[in-house]
Amino acid sequence: MSANRKGLAGLDSLINGKGARARRSPALSPNDALVQVALPLVLILAIITRLMVIEYTEAMRNQGPRILDMWKQQMILRADTVMDAWEREAELGAFPDFSRIQWQGAFPNDPRFENLCTKALEMNDRATLQDNLYHAALAYAPPIGDEENTGLFFTLHDPLARVQPEDPAKVSEDFVIDEERRAYAYAYLADRMAKWKEQVEGLQWSAVAQCADELPLEDFGAGQEGVSAQLLRVADLLKGRGYPLLNSVVEEYGRLNP
């Protein structure tokens, strides 16, 4: 208590300039005190708040059972494997944010972004992509010679799968994918695909913004419809340069004619 009083007295003297007046002149104004004392205090409070939020999130995540079912582990392993492969192929990991895109004038000049945009078009038909990834995950087999991972993969049997095991009867009941397990697998895939889509859309909207910002104005002729027209024009220009945009971006102001 006495220590607190001492600290407050010190703060007060610091604000009012007592004890410091001899050394500094002129005395600290209330604004000086605010900048020098209150702001660091606020910063500390912000950091504490953030840490608390992270802790809370982690705690929530760890509420589920720690030990998953075998089929579930196998399914997640297989799904992540094919999805990682898709990400690599799309080079999605190269663009954690918009600033990574190479730009020249009013348009991007980046082959990897060009590849991403093209690959991302698969997301225009998410159900198909999801099916493809699901069946690819069931059919996945580690490359020959990859002995390290070969032991991690064992057969999962979905009677509806496009590729069936050589002897489905030998597959244990624990690894047969029924409708409930299939739904879980699809949900897992959809969750990650949603993140892809969000990331690609963010990149493309930023590209649209930058392109629209850089492009010179055109005469506003009759028949154009303002913002929608502006978006379509930018989308066309980007597409023409090899950067097709997702339908979800292009059709922001209305579905386009097929």
Binding site: P30, A38, V42, F98, W205, V208, A212, L217, F220, E252
Partner: protein, 763 residues
């Protein structure tokens, strides 16, 4: 204190937190950012389109703008009054209007963009994208628009505004009130019209200034409307004139053509009828547009004038058609004969007759023409000197003049027969009467008084004779007197001709010693010879020579003869020279008894005097000048002969105002010598007179001497107051003067004036 610090700290923390969240949010929503940019682009393109179109002028906008500008003009008429000056505020207004329109479009666009964007959009962001320098480009475009559209918009707006203003003025046009208008029209009527003439349409233009001042109280008006305002006052004037004319047309027949009922006689009756017609057809309605004023006072005045006029005319016609009111001839004759001396003059006679009979005529007429109802009215009118009274006076005088002329004519005939029997006798005129008029210098009888003297009428006779009688007597006398006087005049003139033509011969006869009777007979024969031809031109009665003619011839010859006899006796033949030599020759000066006056001073002094004489200011001896003054107006030069002491005579020469005056004495017995001396002395003075006469012709100063003359003649008076001077002297001097005139004319290069010689012998 600590609480304060904590409070401030928390506030700062919240601000920082929300700011960082906003920044974070913006950065992490690329879709929103893109939408904002797209909206900005769209808005900027729209704004740029508006900016680019800001200078364009289209027809629809022109119409709309013209309407708006016309409204603005009506609010600020003073600034737009003059057509040319009004362009300046118009251009400014157009520029402002365009700027406002542009700003409105931009604001709407920005609002629209805000609706399209999830993020806030500022107008400045749009304008920055729309133009490199919106603050400069937009006003420039607006100015350009104002310049381009000015002509179309301004003219149309001006037309609209002017039309609107004119309409407003016309709707609020206030005509003058009836009282004021009546006063103006009355004044106009009095000044511009006479008799039965109404005001002409042109007469109303005098009202223009006044009407314009009424219209002009409407405040400032457009230049175009100003002309229309003037026309409005004209319209107003035409409306007033139209109403007046319509009123006149209503009564025109009555006013100008006497179309009143025949039985109406007095002005009141006629006026009443005309006013009734006017009042029935022109009812006042001052609230109408334009107001109907009703019957103007000027119309009523015209009716009043007409009533007075036609009252008089109708009465005059009655007077012309009747004569019961005039006195009879018998009455007039009786009145004249009863008082002849007062009726001698026609004018006085008419006055007396009027005085005597007019009141009676008035009474008769008042009763007859006015009847019972109006007899008193007319009786009063006749005595008040009104129009009818003047008509009556004129007609009455005319009537009695006509009657009395006949009466007087008869009476004059009677008087002529009674009082002038002599004039009708064949013996009239007797020679004594002719000679009397001749001696009076008359060529005919001009005055009755002369005739009365010549006929020796008594006083009573003179006072009782009418004007007409006198005139008739003079005319009758002249019928015989004029040829007689003409004959006598010619006969005497022939005597003068002989005097001139045979003077030299007479000298020779005298020197030869011929007898007087013998010479006289020759002269009589010569006179007869002359008369023989000329008598054909006179009436037969007057062809024989008058007794006076014989006497004049005898007297002339005798005087010449006697004068020459004494000259032959006293003067040696050498000294008797021709008149020409005497007057114009340069013979040596002969001793003379002439009295030297200033005209005969030494040469240098004479010249000075001459110069003075030319200036018209010659100083003369009072005596000579005074003597000459009595001849003013009688002649240009005077020779005045009078007795002088010691048996001598004195001659005074000069003009009546003293120019060239001199006096000399001579021996009257030596006629030739005296004539020679006179001739020598006369040279310069006569020259002065001739010069003066010629100059007078030029400047008119010397014309004052004579009553009637021109420069082509010179009159000389030879006045003799001495019995010693013979007629021969007159003849000699006259010849010398004539030759001197000829010599002067030759020398001066002027035309010689005709010499008019007049002998005046007092004895």
């Amino acid at each position: 204190m600590i609480g304060k610090i904590i409070g401030r700290s928390l506030l700062g923390a919240w601000l920082l937190w929300s700011g960082s969240l906003c920044m974070f949010g913006e950065n992490t929503d690329p879709k929103a950012g893109a939408k904002k940019i797209l909206a900005l682009r769209a808005a900027a393109e729209k704004a740029r389109m508006y900016l680019q179109g800001a200078a364009d002028v289209n027809r629809t906008a022109i119409d709309e703008l013209s309407n708006l500008l016309s409204q603005e003009m009506l609010k600020r008429v003073e600034e737009f009054q003059a057509k040319k000056k009004g362009q300046i505020p118009t251009e400014k207004w157009l520029e402002n209007w365009r700027m406002e329109e542009l700003q409105k479009s931009v604001t709407e666009t920005v609002q629209w963009a805000k609706e399209q964007s999830p993020l806030p959009i500022e107008e400045a962001e749009v304008l920055k994208r729309a133009a490199s320098d919106w603050a400069k480009e937009a006003p420039a475009r607006a100015q350009e628009y104002a310049r381009q559209s000015l002509k179309q918009v301004y003219q149309k707006a001006r037309d609209l505004a002017a039309g609107e203003q004119l309409k407003h003025l016309q709707n609020n046009l206030s005509y003058p009130n009836k009282e004021e208008l009546n006063a103006r029209l009355n004044q106009l009527f009095e000044e511009k019209t006479k008799g039965l003439s109404p005001l002409a349409m042109d007469d109303f233009s005098v009202l223009d200034e006044w009407l314009q001042s009424m219209v002009g109280e409407t405040g400032p008006v457009f230049e175009e409307v100003r002309k229309k305002v003037a026309e409005m006052s004209t319209d107003m004037r035409l409306e007033i004139a139209k109403q007046y004319k319509a009123q006149f047309e209503q009564v025109k027949g009555m006013v100008q053509k006497n179309e009143f009922a025949q039985n109406l006689k007095t002005r009141m009756e006629m006026q009443g009828v005309a006013l009734q017609a006017l009042a029935g057809n022109f009812v006042s309605d001052l609230n109408a547009t334009p107001p109907v004023y009703g019957v103007f006072d000027a119309s009523e005045k015209l009716v009043e004038r007409a009533a007075i006029h036609w009252e008089s005319k109708r009465f005059d016609k009655f007077l012309k058609e009747t004569d019961f009111w005039l006195p009879s001839k018998e009455g007039i004759e009786k009145a004249i004969r009863a008082d002849l001396p007062n009726h001698v003059s026609l004018g006085k006679s008419l006055n007396l007759l009027t005085e005597k009979y007019l009141s009676n005529a008035r009474q008769k007429l008042a009763l007859e023409y006015g009847g019972k109802k109006w007899s008193q009215y007319f009786a009063d009118a006749f005595t008040k000197g009104e129009q009818v009274a003047r008509s009556l006076d004129n007609r009455f005088r005319e009537g009695i003049k006509k009657s009395s002329s006949e009466v007087r004519k008869n009476l004059a005939g009677e008087q002529l027969n009674a009082e002038f029997k002599d004039l009708l006798a064949p013996s009239f005129p007797q020679e004594s009467q002719v000679v009397w008029f001749y001696e009076q210098g008359k060529s005919k009888v001009t005055e009755f008084s002369d005739l009365a003297k010549g006929l020796d009428l008594s006083f009573d006779q003179k006072t009782n004779l009418l004007e007409e009688t006198r005139l008739m007597a003079v005319e009758l006398a002249n019928e015989e007197m004029m040829p007689a006087l003409a004959s006598l005049q010619k006969q005497i003139e022939n005597v003068r001709v002989l005097e001139k033509e045979y003077l030299e011969e007479l000298k020779e006869d005298v020197s030869k010693g011929r007898e007087f009777e013998e010479i006289l007979q020759d002269w009589q024969s010569r006179w007869n010879e002359l008369w023989k031809e000329e008598k054909q031109q006179v009436e037969e009665r007057w062809q024989p020579h008058f007794e006076l003619t014989g006497k004049e011839l005898s007297k002339a010859v005798r005087q010449l003869y006697e004068g020459m006899i004494s000259a032959v006796e006293q003067i040696t033949p050498e000294t008797v020279q021709s008149p020409t030599e005497e007057l114009g020759g340069e013979k040596e000066t002969i001793a003379t008894d002439a009295v030297p006056v200033e005209n005969e001073l030494p040469e240098s002094q004479e010249e000075k005097k001459e110069e003075k004489a030319k200036g018209g200011e010659q100083e003369l001896n009072g005596g000579i000048t005074e003597e000459l003054k009595v001849f003013v107006g009688l002649a240009d030069g005077v020779f005045a002969f009078a007795d002088a002491p010691e048996g001598k005579c004195r001659m005074l020469f000069g003009t009546p105002d003293g120019v060239g005056a001199f006096a000399m004495e001579f021996d009257p017995k030596d006629v030739e010598g005296a004539a020679r001396n006179i001739s020598q002395s006369l040279q310069k003075p006569l020259g002065l007179v001739l010069d003066g006469n010629a100059k007078g012709k030029e400047d008119g100063i010397f014309n004052l001497f004579s009553a009637s003359r021109d420069g082509s003649e010179i009159r000389m008076l030879f006045r003799v107051s001495s019995p010693a001077i013979r007629h021969q002297m007159s003849i000699l001097v006259r010849q010398q003067v004539q030759e001197a005139i000829d010599a002067w004319a030759k020398k001066s290069g002027r035309k010689a004036p005709n010499l008019i010689w007049q002998d005046d012998v007092e004895l």
